[in-house]
Assembly symmetry: C2
Homo-oligomer: 387 residues x 2
């Protein structure tokens, strides 16, 4: 049994299952039905890049008592058998007539009483990874059992990371730390941004990433226009600010943070903007504590930026992190999720230097009883200049 297919000892998964079951009991749920890569990995240890193929649905049913049951395409049986659960039911997918739906319905009917309630994550930031037509058919097949909102049961458990998970995220952050140190080796005036993106991904792999699920960034004179566009062929120029952001993956856990670099000398307004982002992150590191709400963290960051005279960027200023590049909560003025000990979060202040010209900054932290502990190595207070 290769160690890598389980990632954690079975006890880790048992504790997760029990935690989900406590939330299910509290919420009056008889089972959870899970379909996404993160939820399936969280409950079983089943880790594969095969999710990249949209062809097949995968299901894990967590009953309110007892071990989870996997209802999966036969192609995954070999790998799932190396995980901790023993009840694995398979079908030959894709099947245009019945792509696992009757097997899933039978499984649910065997685990859930007729008057029972089956929760699925259906709230903010969720989706159901199965065809809608099959979901409608499933509801008919399992009636009078009902599918209801199980978002809270999943989110309240997954959002608190165990020490074992925190160590995995810390290790992935260290991979990105090491890759960011090497940026001046390949990013300089004259090199197209598309080449910088490639070389940065190479550096992440060479420093120990299993794969690189996300690289983004931007480059432009005195700031960048947006942070989600693919790289273009424009060569970097003196006066540009280059930002690289990554969600690399190691043993199934993500990092998510970015770094800025000045190509040549950083202009005064860029240095001021970077200083305000740094100060805002400092404020969050000093003031954040368990019991605050996500919107309180937004307020801390936004007020610190305003004290520095900066124009606060739109959008959220941070989010959860772990088995996915981004998890709830969202650091916005509207999110009332309680921030609790063991949550892993990104602090992601952003400012507008001028219309169409922004600067962002991101660190990864775990929230401890006495405040945030950095998982990424703190960015330098002064933006590095690549001469």
């Amino acid at each position: 049994m290769p160690e890598t297919s389980l990632i954690f000892p079975a006890d880790e998964y048992r504790r997760r299952t029990e935690a989900l079951q406590r939330e299910m009991a509290r919420g009056g749920l008889d089972a959870l039905m899970l379909t996404t890569p993160a939820d399936v990995f969280y409950t079983t240890g089943f880790l594969t890049r095969f999710w990249e193929s949209p062809a097949r649905p995968w299901f894990v049913v967590v009953p309110v008592a007892g071990d989870p049951v996997a209802v999966i395409p036969a192609i995954g049986a070999e790998l799932m058998r190396r995980c901790w659960i023993s009840d694995i039911r398979t079908w030959n997918a894709p099947d245009p007539i019945d792509d696992g739906v009757s097997l899933l319905a039978d499984t649910l009917a065997g685990l859930v009483p007729r008057a029972g309630r089956i929760g699925i994550p259906m709230g903010l930031e969720s989706h159901l990874r199965m065809p809608v037509a099959d979901f409608l058919r499933l509801q008919d097949l399992i009636a009078p059992r009902r599918i209801v909102d199980g978002t809270d049961a999943v989110y309240r458990v997954r959002e608190i990371k165990s020490e074992a998970e925190i160590e995995k995220i810390r290790a992935t952050c260290a991979v990105a730390d090491a890759a960011f140190v090497r940026v001046p080796e390949f990013a300089r005036a004259g090199v197209p941004l598309s080449q910088v993106f490639r070389d940065f991904q190479v550096a992440l792999l060479q420093e120990g990433a299993d794969w690189v699920s996300y690289v983004a960034g931007g480059a432009g004179p005195g700031g960048y226009g947006d942070v989600i566009s693919p790289a273009d062929e424009r060569p970097l120029q003196n006066g540009d600010v280059l930002m690289l952001d990554t969600g690399a993956v190691r043993e199934g856990y993500f990092c998510d943070f970015d770094r800025n670099f000045a190509i040549g000398r950083a202009a005064d307004d860029v240095r001021r903007a970077h200083g305000s982002l740094y100060a805002a992150t400092d404020a969050a590191l000093a003031e954040l504590h368990p019991g605050m709400l996500a919107r309180d963290l937004h307020r801390i960051l936004a007020e610190a930026l305003e004290r520095e005279g900066a124009v606060v960027g739109g959008g959220r200023l941070g989010h959860g992190l772990g088995l996915a590049l981004t998890e709830w909560p969202s650091v916005t003025p509207l999110d009332t999720t309680e921030l609790r000990e063991g949550m892993v979060l990104t602090l992601e202040p952003g400012v507008e230097i001028a219309p169409g010209r922004i600067l962002v900054h991101e660190e990864d932290v775990v929230l401890r009883a006495d405040g945030p502990e950095l998982l990424s190595r703190r960015a330098p207070a002064e933006m590095p200049e690549i001469m």
Copy 2:
């Protein structure tokens, strides 16, 4: 306007829109509502790795007449404005109260008559990338308009690739061809499979991949056990067969094919198995023609393998390819999709050498009027041996 954010001239997207609209008219649909990375990229040219974040839903509405309308998070507005469509409606996501649902409902209500029907892909291999709770709320908000099955309208159009798309897929295949040539530089006895996976990803990036969405493989004495497990730390040994499979991405288009390598001398049963896979692919290259069904291709491959005395592997023996690692149809005995000129397919025969020991082989082709044209460079008839 950077060339890279559009990928194709606007006319390409106009032709796609018109093709979708012809299918919609045929199916009695007043609009299509699209939510996935592939469908959004297909209709707008909006290409970003930001989909890796599950936090935000994205919508494109294609009315039965007129240009598509984007209903997207504000963070994507800058990039979408560089695409060909002009009607872009945004909200500040994520919003825990109303995450774009009322804006989407207003958009649909403005484009679709009250008795109208809105199609979504809801069949095999599809999913809806938005929260289920929001989908239920949307249905209430737009009533009496109804959401119905629009799978065929999308699949029948997307599955036929334009010459411009075929050239993109060919270019991505060339990246993988070049990376496979370099495998003997980093894979040899004593190197752990995990390191081989990393080095292969590095080679793909260095040969021109924009990113590497998928790498899988396997290694074991005389064959491998499965093809979806993550790499383990076991060093390669003489007598192993190493298989590497990749879905690299360049300009938004995937390749998907694999190659086998013997570490040291290939055993006789391995050579025989590889020969049977090669012969089966030859049979498909010779016999496949437009008008056949997906299940006919399965029969061609399976019968050729049986003629060679091989045990046909379970699962599908090929599939569609393009904007996603795998697209419909599936090469199974059950899939009755008609294979038409312009479809890009993988030919993926697999055999069982012994219980728990398999060998697979994959090529990418485009189906022309007179038969398949290879997009990947044909694998060598004899399995390469790495001494």
